[in-house]
């Protein structure tokens, strides 16, 4: 396979996506954006799993990424439910205003 994309490109793309996810997670205030950042990080990791799996001709990476997808789906379901409840109770989606376990 002479014309394949080199592994390092995939990893660089994965690192960039992960870095964007971290930056979004830390710097954005909207809960939904934060949530999307988390999804982004998960998928960046997925990308590197798939890349390694392809490179090493092993199926493990695929299985890992399926697990990550399942977890991400579950997390999305629970997370969105939490976001809805928070918005109902506080009428805000700004993450800095949800800083108290009380009330």
């Amino acid at each position: 396979m002479p014309q394949t994309v080199p592994l390092s490109w995939y990893l660089i793309l994965s690192a960039i996506l992960f870095g964007l996810g971290v930056a979004g997670f830390i710097f954005r205030r909207n809960i939904i954006t934060v949530f999307m950042s988390i999804e982004l990080m998960l998928n960046a990791v997925n990308l590197s799993f798939i890349a390694f799996s392809y490179q090493l001709r092993q199926v493990d990476g695929h299985i890992f990424s399926f697990f990550v997808m399942v977890v991400a789906a579950a997390e999305a379901a629970v997370g969105l439910a939490i976001i809805l409840t928070v918005f109902k109770n506080r009428a805000t989606l700004a993450i800095d205003e949800v800083n108290s376990l009380k009330n």
Binding site: V22, F25, I26, F27, I95, D96, V98, N99, S100
Partner: protein, 618 residues
């Protein structure tokens, strides 16, 4: 098997029944259980002794091995020999009489069932003490009677003085018990056993110790135990205070039985004491000092029970003189006769107190002869007995002791004679102040009921004829050989004369011309004050031992050790965790983005560390 265990088990059963459900039982049933358990025990003693026959050697029953450690094997052994037989008869016999008396005396007191439960428990432990076949069982009984003594002295739980007296008795006894424990440890170390049989067999071939050796140490430590329990100088201070308890308790525990446990223990260990002349000398001299000191105090007291309490201390001193000069059988003889007449004196005093509605001060009595004639009659029997007038019980045993003392050191005999005179004087003084002259109180004296004077009458007969009828020294001859000396009639006459002189002097002072005592005490001034205040022994103990102890406990142990160090460690641990927690709390800001930043930082840090390690590994 003679089922010796039944002897202590019966009072124990009485204790359990009365102690557990006595509160819900009618008084009749409570007293029936209490009295029956002791009387049955007495009956079982009689049956056992008649079945065992002459008892030339000890009869031992082993029920089970109590515990084993290495070569040391302690069995649950009960043993009977002639010495135990005498003690068993005294304890259960006198105990039965006093139980019967107490049903009348305690009739109107609260806590009726509690009183009899304790009294039964006391009987159980006392019987364990005399039946024990080794030092440890003896010690169990020894501690048990101490506990019951504590409970019964403090029987009137609402009276502070009673509680204080109970604590004093308990604590002073602990000092003696400490000596007893050390003696037992020495015995285990040196003889590898605590069985009376084995230990004494091992001691018998040992030579008499001219200088202090291991046997002297054991004997002296055992005697320390005896001074506590039997109220000898310097640990006698608890006994006079113990009179805070109800009078039947004073009679049973603090006159007839428990306080003679020390004499019993010394006589039991006679084999050890005989091989240590030094320890014997100490025993005799302590006994002598106690006898004289307590007799002098007894002459000045006004509380009728206090007089008899000091009399008990003094008579116990006599018993130790006997042991110290080697006449152990005379000591036990005096234990027996003393149990008769002193129990009678106390129960009689109880009857008097009962008659004058709780008054104990003899200055508020007088002239009771006609008002309570039966009590007067029985007390007269005790009076002539303790004064050593022949042929009554006290005369026989006191005579044996004084003759043995003369044989040992003539000066001991003379001190003993003087004490005998003082004994006669203070008892006569109590009798004259109580029964002669005019009545000085305000109550309406009345005679006690039959349940009270019935036992008194039995004791009166024993006080009169007991010494002549029970030839204790002859019975104990297999254990303590008699010296076989002829009685020197001059010495007998002198001691009897001293007793008669004491009575006569008291008659002159308290009946013929009642002004004399005041004149004499006035003339003696400071000396009288010293004796009247019991030589200030309690005050000296307070100043030298009790107060430094209390003060030290308060300022050092409480304020510094407890409040400072122990509480400091506990509180310090709490303070440190709290301040560390306070610092860590700052991290928990509640700001999700800051958490995220920390997580990221942590992740980066882990990566850096892994990278550095991987780099280092290359």
């Amino acid at each position: 098997m003679q089922q010796l265990w039944l002897i202590p088990a019966l009072p124990l059963a009485g204790f359990l029944i009365n102690g557990l459900i006595g509160k819900r039982l009618p008084k009749m049933v409570v007293s029936l259980i209490a009295v029956a358990s002791v009387v049955l025990s007495f009956g079982w003693v009689l049956k056992t002794l008649s079945a065992l026959g002459s008892l030339e050697t000890a009869y031992v029953e082993r029920y089970f091995t109590w515990f084993e450690s290495g070569t040391l094997n302690i069995g649950f052994d009960l043993a009977v020999d002639r010495l135990t037989a005498v003690m068993l008869l005294v304890v259960t016999g006198i105990g039965s009489l006093i139980h019967i008396y107490a049903t009348g005396y305690m009739e109107h007191e609260g806590g009726y069932y509690r009183f009899f439960a304790y009294l039964n428990l006391f009987m159980f432990f006392m019987l364990m003490l005399v039946l024990g076949g080794n030092f440890l069982i003896l010690f169990v009984g020894w501690e048990g009677v101490g506990l019951c003594s504590y409970l019964l002295i403090g029987f009137y739980i609402l009276k502070k003085s009673a509680g204080d007296a109970a604590k004093k008795a308990f604590i002073v006894n602990r000092i003696g018990d400490f000596g007893f424990c050390l003696a037992m440890f020495l015995i285990v170390v040196n003889f590898g056993s605590l069985d009376f049989g084995k230990v004494f067999e091992a001691v018998k071939p040992m030579p008499v110790e001219a200088t202090a050796g291991i046997l002297t140490a054991i004997a002296l430590l055992l005697f320390v135990g005896a001074t506590g329990k039997s109220a000898q100088v310097p640990l006698y201070v608890w006994l006079p205070d113990a009179m805070e308890g109800p009078t039947p308790v004073s009679a049973l525990i603090h006159a007839a039985t428990m306080v003679t446990a020390g004499v019993y223990m010394v006589a039991r260990s006679a084999v050890i004491f005989e091989r240590s002349p030094m320890a014997m000398e100490v025993v005799a001299i302590v006994g002598l000092i106690t006898a004289v000191m307590a007799a002098t105090i007894g002459m000045t007291q006004y509380d009728i029970k206090k007089v008899f309490a000091y009399s008990t201390v003094s008579q116990l001193g006599y018993m130790f003189i006997a042991c110290g000069v080697g006449a152990f059988s005379a000591g036990i003889y005096h234990v027996v006769t003393h149990a008769f007449f002193k129990a009678l004196l106390f129960l009689g005093a109880g009857s008097v107190i009962h008659a004058v509605h709780g008054e104990q001060d003899m200055r508020h009595m007088g002239g009771l002869m006609k008002k309570i004639p039966i009590t007067f009659a029985v007390l007269t029997c005790a009076w002539v007995s303790i004064a050593g007038i022949p042929p009554f019980a006290g005369y026989f045993s006191k005579d044996e002791i004084l003759l043995a003392a003369h044989h040992h050191h003539p000066w001991m005999y003379w001190v003993g004679v003087v004490t005998a005179g003082m004994t006669a004087f203070y008892v006569s003084r109590a009798m004259f102040m109580t029964f002669f002259g005019k009545y000085r109180g305000h109550a309406h004296p009345h005679e006690s009921p039959f349940v009270m004077w019935g036992p008194l009458a039995v004791l009166a007969v024993l006080s009169l004829a007991g010494g002549w009828y029970f030839k204790v020294p002859h019975y104990l001859e297999p254990l303590f050989p008699l010296s076989g000396e002829a009685h020197d009639m001059t010495l007998v006459a002198i001691s009897v004369g001293a007793g008669a002189l004491g009575i006569g002097l008291a008659y002159v002072c308290y009946v013929l011309s009642p002004g004399i005592p005041d004149t004499v005490s006035g003339a003696l001034g400071p000396i009288y004050k010293l004796v009247y205040n019991k030589y200030f022994v309690d005050e000296v103990y307070d100043a030298t031992i009790v107060n430094p102890m209390v003060g030290g406990s308060r300022s050092v142990l409480w304020r510094i050790v407890d409040a400072g160090i122990i509480d400091g460690i506990v509180n310090g641990t709490a303070t440190v965790s709290r301040s560390v927690g306070g610092a860590l709390r700052m991290l928990q800001s509640g700001n999700i983005r800051s958490y995220a930043a920390w997580v990221t930082l942590g992740g980066v840090a882990v990566l850096v560390v892994l990278g550095v390690m991987a780099g280092g590994a290359k």
